[in-house]
Symmetry: C2
Subunit: 397 residues, 2 copies
C-alpha cells in the first residue's frame, strides 16, 4: 500500500516581508513562531516585574528581531540587553536608544561601542578588571564621549565577573573613576540556574543572585562610589524570585520563546514554547523504529541541553503539524540535514505511521540555538494554518 502526502502548493521559502499561504504549504525545514504564545510569555514576565517594581530589560540575544522587540515595545527606545554589537547596531538603527551590551569588553568592542555612544546611543558596557577600564577610557577619549560601564559580579561561578566579596571590586571602580568612566552599576547573571529543576532550588538561586548583587552594590556605595543600577537576571530566576529588594532591573531573553530546557528546569509548560521547527518525512525504517525527516542539526542546532536533565528530549520533541505533541516521539539522532525520529527509550508508545511527505513540528531544546540557524520566523497563531508574517532575524557580530 503506497501512501503519499503531496502538497501541490509547496513553495520554496519566501524572503522576509513576503507571505506564504499556509503552514502546510511551507517548504521545510522552516522555523515557526506562535505569536499568541510569544505574547503570553511576554505578558507573564512583564506583569511579574511590574508587580515587583523592577524594570525589565529584555535580552534580545534569543529573538534578534525588531518585530519581536516591537511586541515588547510597540514604539519604545528600550531598555534592552544585547549579546553582540551587531545586535546593538541593528536595534539602534530601529530606534532603540537604551542598550546594555552584556559581554565582557575587549579593545575592538570598546572602540565600536564608543562609536555607537558618539552616535547618541546610551550604550552601557560590561567589565570586571582594571585593564578593561583602561581600555574603555582610551576608547572613550579617542571618540570624545563619556562612557558608562557595569561591573560584572559572579554570583554562582558560572563564567565571568568578580565575586561579591572580592577586594578587586573597589579596584575596578577606582580604575573606572580614574579613566573617566561612569559606573552604571553592577550586573550579574545566575547562569547556573539552568541546571536546577525544583521550585525551592530556583527560589534559592534567585535569592542568592539578589543578595550577592545587592552586597556588591553596598560595598561599592560604602566606598563612595555611586552604584545606581543593580541588574540581575536569567529566565529561571526572573520567574522564581520572591523578593527583589535592592534590585533595580531584571534581564531575561529565552523567556520570550521558552524551550525544552526551560521546561525541564520547570519554568514553563510545553504549551508555552513559542517556536518550533517544521519538517517533512523523507523516509521510514519501521524495522528500526525510525522515521527520517529533513531536519538535522543544521535546522535544529547541535544543542543537547536536555541530555543532563531528568527527561532527555534528544534533539527535540515531535508534534503534529497543528502543534499537538506525539507522546514520547523525539528526534533521537541528527546529522547535518537528517533527523531520526523514534520513540523515547523505555516508552510503550508505538511508532506512528507517518508517510513520506507528512509534516511535523519539533519543539527545540534551546530556543537561542535553534532560532540562530534560521533567517526568519514564519509567524503563526494557535489554531490557524496561515502564515501571518515573516519576521527577519539578524546574525553575526
Amino acid at each position: 500500500m503506497l501512501r503519499v502526502e503531496m502538497d501541490r502548493t509547496d513553495i520554496p521559502n519566501a524572503g522576509p516581508g513576503e507571505t506564504a499561504a499556509t503552514i502546510k504549504a511551507l517548504a521545510t525545514p522552516a522555523l515557526l513562531l506562535d505569536k499568541d504564545r510569544l505574547d503570553g510569555n511576554l505578558a507573564r514576565l512583564s506583569s511579574r516585574m511590574a508587580r515587583q517594581g523592577v524594570v525589565l530589560r529584555p535580552h534580545m540575544k534569543t529573538a534578534k528581531s525588531i518585530d519581536v522587540a516591537r511586541r515588547v515595545y510597540p514604539s519604545g527606545v528600550g531598555p534592552i540587553t544585547v549579546s553582540t554589537l551587531a545586535e546593538a547596531d541593528y536595534f539602534a538603527q530601529h530606534g532603540f536608544r537604551d542598550i546594555t551590551y552584556a559581554v565582557g569588553l575587549a579593545p575592538h568592542t570598546a572602540e565600536r561601542a564608543m562609536r555607537l555612544r558618539k552616535a547618541g546611543i546610551d550604550i552601557k558596557v560590561l567589565l570586571d578588571s582594571p585593564e578593561q577600564a583602561i581600555i574603555l577610557g582610551a576608547a572613550a577619549r579617542a571618540a570624545g564621549v563619556a562612557p558608562s560601564a557595569f561591573i560584572e559580579i559572579d554570583c554562582d561561578g558560572h563564567r565571568g565577573g568578580l565575586t561579591a566579596g572580592d577586594p578587586k571590586l573597589i579596584a575596578v571602580a577606582a580604575a573606572l573613576a580614574e579613566a573617566g568612566v561612569k559606573l552604571a552599576g553592577i550586573l550579574t547573571h545566575a547562569g547556573e540556574s539552568y541546571g536546577l529543576s525544583t521550585p525551592a532550588g530556583l527560589v534559592a538561586a534567585a535569592e542568592n543572585e539578589r543578595a550577592l548583587a545587592v552586597a556588591a552594590a553596598t560595598t561599592l556605595r560604602a566606598a563612595g562610589h555611586e552604584c545606581p543600577v543593580v541588574s540581575v537576571g536569567s529566565t529561571p530566576t526572573a520567574h522564581f524570585a520572591e523578593d527583589l529588594t535592592g534590585v533595580t532591573e531584571m534581564r531575561a531573553g529565552v523567556y520570550m520563546f521558552f524551550d525544552l530546557v526551560m521546561h525541564g528546569v520547570g519554568v514553563c509548560t510545553t504549551d508555552d514554547i513559542a517556536i518550533s521547527l517544521l519538517a517533512t518525512v523523507i523516509g521510514t525504517k519501521p524495522e528500526k523504529g525510525w522515521i527520517l525527516v529533513d531536519a538535522g542539526w543544521m535546522a535544529l542546532s547541535r544543542d543537547r541541553g536536555t541530555a543532563a536533565q531528568r527527561v532527555d528530549q534528544g534533539y527535540g520533541l515531535v508534534c503534529d503539524v497543528a502543534g499537538k505533541i506525539y507522546p514520547d516521539l523525539i528526534v533521537s539522532q541528527a546529522s547535518q540535514e537528517h533527523g531520526i525520529l523514534s520513540i523515547r527509550p523505555g516508552s510503550a508508545q508505538a511508532l506512528l505511521d507517518l508517510p513520506i511527505g507528512a509534516k511535523v513540528r519539533i519543539l527545540p531544546n534551546h530556543a537561542c540555538a535553534t532560532a540562530s540557524q534560521h533567517e526568519l520566523y514564519n509567524v503563526v497563531s494557535a489554531g490557524s494554518d496561515a502564515i501571518e508574517a515573516r519576521w527577519p532575524r539578524i546574525r553575526g557580530w
Copy 2:
C-alpha cells in the same frame, strides 16, 4: 601589573569582497581559512582518487562557497554533491551543471529539483522507496522533464537507504521505471566510519561500503536495470579505501577543511585543519584556571563530536594567533558568546598568562558546524598575518 594588548587598527568585520588589513586587526569572533592547507587537502584526495581511477564528486555541504569550489574546479561545471537545494541553486547560478542532491526526496524538493532540471541543470536526486518514485514522477511530468535518481543503499545502519539485500531494491527500481525516471545508479555513505579510530577499522569500513554498493548494483543489473553509477563516500573511507573495484565515484566534503573529529578518527593531523576561529581574551580567572574569550557556541557551534573520542577536545583546541597549538589548552565550556579556556583535565601544563585583548585561534571539532555559524571566510596563508580575501558562504534551504 596591568597588561593590555590593544590593536588600534581593530575594525568591525568587513563584508564579502572587502579586505581587512591583518589577522591581528580583525574584529572577533571571525572565521579564518588557511588557503594553503585547503589546497593541500584538496590535492591529497584528488590525486588519491585519480590514482584509483574513481571520479571525485566533492560534497559542498561543508564549504558552501563558490570560491572554495573554484579551488577544485577553476572553471568547471562539476561534478559536485549538495545537501540542500539552496546549495544547488547557488552553484547552478555560478555555472555548475552536474549536481547530486544527496538527501532523501520529499514532495517540495522533488518539485524544486525538477524546476532546476527544467533550467538545464543535470540534477540527480536520491530516494529509497516506491512512494518517492511516484512523487518524483509526478513532479517531473508537471515540469515536463526527464529526471534521474539514485537509490540510496544503507551500508552500515547509519540512517536512510535500503540494505543491499533488501527485496525492496528491485521494487524501487521498478517504480522508477514505471514513473518514467532514469536510474542514475546507487549511492551509499559510510556514516558510521566517523565513530572509528584505527586504520584497520577504516580500511574495513571502506571495503564494506564498496562491497555492499557493488552488491546492490549487481542485483539491479541482474534484474535488467541499468545502474551506471556506483557512488560511495565519507571522508574517512575516501582516505582509507584500498580497493575501489566496481565503484565509479567518491563523495566527501569535510576533507577540504578537516577538523578535530577527523583528527580523532585518524584521517588528518592538526596541521591539516584549514579553518580556525579567531577570538579575543575578555577576562581571566586564574584562581579557577580559566581564560574567558569572546567565542561561545554561536561562533564555534554546539558540536561536541570529540566527546566520544579518545581525546575530548571540549569545544576546540586553542592555538596562538599564528596557528601554533598551545599544548592541552582547550575550550572547556561555551555559552552563547563566551568560551572558557582551560588546561585539559589530567595535564600538567600550566595556564598561560594571556592578557585582556590577546587573540587566539581555535581549531573546531566539526568544520561543517563551525563554518555554518559564519557569513564568510577570512582567507589567510601560512606564515602571513594578511587577510588575502573574504569568501562568502551561503546558508538556508
